[in-house]
Amino acid sequence: MHLSSPAKKLIVIFILFLGALFISLPQKIPFFGREVVRPNLDIKIGRFEIKKSFDLRLGLDLAGGSHLVFEADTSKISSDKMKDAVVSLKEVVEKRVNLFGISEPVVQTSSFGGKERIIVELPGIQNTQQAAELIGRTAQLVFAEVSEATSSGELKITDLTGADLERAAVDFDQTTGKPVVALQFTKEGGGKFEKITEKNIGKAVAILLDTEIISAPIVQEKISGGNAIISGDFTTEEVKKLVIQLNAGALPLPIGLVEERVVQATLGTESVAQSVKAGLVGLTMVLAFMVLSYGRLGVVSAVGLIIFGILTLALYKLIPVVLTLPGIAGFLLSVGMAVDSNILIFERFKEEKGKRPVADALEVSFGRAWDSIRDANIATLVTAFILANPFDWDFLHTSGPVRGFAITLALGVAISLFTGIVVSRNLLRVFVREKKA
């Protein structure tokens, strides 16, 4: 059996379509009362391991979570030290967020117009107040001697600080059962601590967190070994937070919350349902419109559009693209634009049909329409590129919604070029030839 080249290409496209369909479908599909479950990809070749679950990643506005923006107070730092301070600021915030135990948090910095900002995205977290306190507190720990020269008990700050900590942990006082913070100093820090306790036997040593005294125990004896305990009037929650902050280290710059956005998961689920419904209704209208306006040609473009939808969804899962509400809008808009190349070609075909045989007219239409399709889509891609800001240029938008929209729009345009040109062209070639025979 001899297969023409367009037919061969169609077979390749069909296989691609099946692969994309496999990825696009939900993982569990009810099938005649039973549930079909797609296995996750888990390939091991020697030392290489490929693991993919093909789940759609949803952004904060769809899955629920919080988006926090902090602004650093840079007034007390010289500009030459700024860059390092911001880098280490990000590191400390990242550590704190990770120690907090949230899956897939995002920590970004943004520098614009002399303002240094930290953007933190916490999926699944609704209590922003708690998160903001955890992240935003400078948590500078210092030890101070209490001078007895004055009756008010003036503080003399020592060189022992939070930077001398090896690690902090949650512990409980064995007699009172109250939560306490157990400190373990580094070797050097242990030495400093030993000296301070030796000097202050019978006197109080104050422990300050961000200039606030959190505990001022009386030293009973010289403590060597580098272990200490901060006991105070803490709740377990507070101790946990403090431990995370101490382990992550103090913020090199004080920061303040300037923007917060929280979405409940229930609202996100509703948004997804509404978007899917809107998408299906819109898609049906577009398909019906194409078939009514262009007849059999319209059917071809409808097939192309369905392939477009499946391929796009598969790519979202493969890349993966974090899908947000504006992102879905971008996708739906690109569906509307995807048929444009078909419409251009079909309108051209109507003109050319009278002038030459059908198969030739088809090829000519594709050729002629290509110039405008290329030029027009590149213009759209340029805009999408600027909106998506892939190089993180500080003078453009760096945050979620605009970006999510631009990425899905750009992907939509790129894939629609493929389905509009390659897929429908080969479909039409086979279709037209068979009609002739």
Partner: protein
């Protein structure tokens, strides 16, 4: 068809629409959302309806200033206030609980400080400037003429002005606010507008190569040949957007409206602004040369 015969009419239509927008802008201004001027936006789900006036009275105190309470859907309300101190967030919920006798659920909470807005405006202006110059250069390069590039960008700015003016009007009558998503819609419309314009220009380019003739003749031909395509393509986009407006939920509703206005304006501006501009430009050029 001699489309270009009525070019004065097209310019008048555009001038009227943009004029109305500018009038609305000067009279009422744009109602900026919290993304631009700072403030809090909270969406609550409550057990039953309540009197918004009473709620405002009970919520307001020296630190909380309620800008508006809107019913957003069945049993959901949007409350807008000045930027909130975290400790006052709970205050509002307690008032709602009192009024409805049931637990109010916070669906969405957005609190933006006043320092975010100015940066957002600057970044948007940069994005529009960069996108416009990139498109101008691309069109000028592909059509080997500066005229094409400038006319396309002018048509694009026409669409932005129409959109901005429409939202000044919508803002006054329906309380629609300009937010982050509006900016996205505006930038998308820039690209849609030029997409459509390029398709018409492409026909002018092709006719010029094959047949030649006066600019007016070529323009008329190009518009006739692309009219059905332009309308059909816009219809498919409009179908998707109308579905989004009606079914897509409150968050994207006005975003979709912005895109819809932009799509309609973008479809109009390609044959009736971008091409006439080209024709007028060439006429002026000829007159200057003759003089």
């Amino acid at each position: 068809m001699n489309w270009m015969k009525y070019r004065i009419v097209y310019f008048l239509i555009s001038a009227t629409v943009i004029g109305a927008g500018i009038f609305a802008y000067l009279k009422w201004g744009l109602s900026l959302g919290i993304d631009f001027k700072g403030g809090a936006l909270i969406e609550y789900q409550v057990g039953k309806d309540f009197s918004t006036e009473e709620a405002i009275k009970k919520i307001e105190n020296p630190s909380i200033e309620v800008h508006s309470i809107q019913k957003a859907g069945e049993n959901t309300y949007l409350i807008r206030t000045n930027p909130l101190n975290p400790s006052y967030r709970e205050n509002i919920r307690v008032v709602l609980n009192e009024l409805t006798g049931e637990d109010a659920q916070e669906l969405r909470f957005e609190n933006v400080g006043p320092s975010i807005g100015p940066d957002l405006i600057k970044k948007t202006i940069y994005a529009i400037a960069i996108a416009s110059s990139a498109i101008l250069l691309w069109v000028a390069f592909q059509f080997k003429s500066f005229k094409f590039g400038v006319s396309a960008v002018l048509a694009m700015l026409h669409d932005s002005l129409v959109l901005l003016g429409s939202f000044a009007i919508l803002g006054h009558f329906f309380g629609v606010e300009i937010d982050f998503l509006f900016v996205t819609a505006m930038l998308t419309i820039l690209s849609f507008s030029v997409h459509d314009t390029i398709v018409v220009y492409d026909r002018v380019r092709e006719t010029r190569k094959k047949v030649g003739g006066s600019t007016i003749e070529m323009a008329n031909m190009a518009i006739s040949q692309t009219m059905v395509r332009s309308l059909n393509n816009s219809f498919t986009i409009i179908f998707m957007l109308v579905a989004l407006i009606l079914l897509g939920g409150t968050t994207v509703k006005w975003f979709a409206v912005a895109l819809l206005i932009g799509t309609i304006s973008g479809t109009y501006s390609s044959p009736f602004v971008a091409v006439p501009l080209l024709v007028v430009w060439e006429e002026l050029q000829r007159k200057i040369k003759r003089a």
